[in-house]
Symmetry: C2
Subunit: 283 residues, 2 copies
């Protein structure tokens, strides 16, 4: 009984469903940002995003089983609860269902996006993540694309471009800081992150560049009159000020503990930013 | 220069502004859940919630300086970047401004809520947190109250009661699991958490009771016709299923690492639940 429980938990952890749920939510947010509402194909694309991302996470564990056996021995495959070939099979089934759902919308843009996302996730697992910066940027682009996919379902992507760009900059910066956090284990495994290949100072410079770009970028939608003063208040206090202090923290202390804190702050702070877009579009 | 930077970061960390921002957002969400929109007094109450919670966090560090000196030596006060009496002064100033803003709305319910919240935060710092369960429940109630406060600003609290109850159950359960995570340090400091006083198994039973109540509770709003089928889908897949697996994980493994993961999952999963309420009220 206990074994089946643990196996079920292992499959659950293999999919990393919380990431999938965030993608699911981002598709809906995209539709809501674009049109204030959503349609039935929004749900279909959201489920498709959930499944395709789950497939991507699973195939990533399939590829990384040797590294994980050393770095993360409690992950589903190295712990022995999920057989490696079962993970591959599950991943392909999830990918197929996810792709089919995307295609079933009949919308050419939705089909293009779901195909790009699927191929990028596969490429990421086997190759892109080994290239410094490119791997981080790939994850950033995929995160931004989910908002645009939501806009596609309501035939309007105009309102999704700014949140997508915001999510891209935020996620890319956060992924690089996560790489600084993980540098010890990654050096041992010779992975291809920026801090491993180019050193943590260059990684901090690149992450800072994305964060500073984000701070400047966050002001533009207000200046252009796309969002109200409430957007400006929340984004300046809740995002820009937080990012400035996180930047200061990063440069004062690049230790594992410090970077862990910074990236966790950023994970929650993305929601503050999205909330700013939402509030700013309401009033 | 570096010193001033670090001091500024220390003051920032003292306030725990991310918690404050979540309270700020919860007030707005309360108004949006209640009426689909917000008014100028929503912003005033949201800023008040931010300031009062920042005051509460600051006074908590003021009270805990001896415990933190051992458990969390990098916190602002034990690290020496913030003097203890300055933290007390800052806390009182923040509380005064926060209370004044709440009173300035002229709404009797807003005034009652901001007064209750302020007094509870003070009581929590000096006393409530030492009583097993009561401390956790206090934090849960305060979290729920922010949604109701948002409803008060738009003169309608009906739509806020269910999200408030949901946030209460979720937060209380999460706080108890955080206590299991922190048991080692807390035992040494003789703090008054459930796992320290009654053992981690009873703590897990109490946390599980809150989580199971939450799962059952999450179905009621759909059965009563308050939210659409989309609420049901998202809450069952995104919250209930996640909670069931987290429950299984908790009972398979109550180690510090396992509880840390569980409470971090819950922190993000609360957003999924709130998103379910929002989506369910749209369609």
């Amino acid at each position: 009984m206990m074994f089946y429980f643990r196996t079920a938990i292992a499959y659950f952890e293999l999919l990393r469903p919380l990431n999938g749920l965030i993608a699911f939510g981002s598709v809906f947010l995209g539709a809501i940002f674009a049109s204030g509402s959503f349609v039935s194909s929004t749900l279909i694309v959201a489920v498709s995003a959930f499944l395709v991302l789950s497939a991507g996470n699973t195939i990533n564990d399939f590829c990384d089983y040797q590294i994980d056996a050393i770095n993360k021995p409690t992950r589903p495959i190295p712990s022995g609860y999920v057989q490696r070939q079962h993970a591959l099979g599950l991943s392909l089934v999830l990918l197929l269902i996810g792709l089919s759902l995307g295609v079933s919308t009949g919308d050419i843009y939705a089909i293009i996006i779901v195909t790009i996302v699927s191929m990028t996730l596969l490429l990421y697992a086997v190759w892109l993540k080994k290239i410094p910066l490119i791997g981080n940027v790939a994850i950033g682009i995929l995160t931004g694309l989910t908002f645009i996919a939501g806009g596609v379902t309501v035939k309007s992507i105009k309102g999704t471009m700014v949140p997508a760009a915001f999510a891209f900059l935020f996620t890319t910066a956060r992924e690089i800081i996560k790489d600084i956090e993980d540098i010890e284990g990654d050096v041992a495994q010779e992975t291809g992150t920026i801090p491993v290949r180019w050193g943590e100072h260059i990684a901090a410079v690149v992450a800072s560049a994305f964060m500073l770009t984000l701070i400047l970028f966050s002001l533009i939608p207000y200046v252009l009159g796309m969002y109200s003063w409430l957007y400006l208040i929340v984004v300046v206090v809740g995002v820009d000020l937080v990012l400035i202090f996180l930047l200061a923290k990063l440069w004062c202390d690049m230790s594992k503990e410090s970077c862990a804190k910074i990236q966790q702050w950023m994970k929650l702070d993305i929601f503050v930013g999205l909330f700013a877009f939402y509030l700013g579009s309401l009033s």
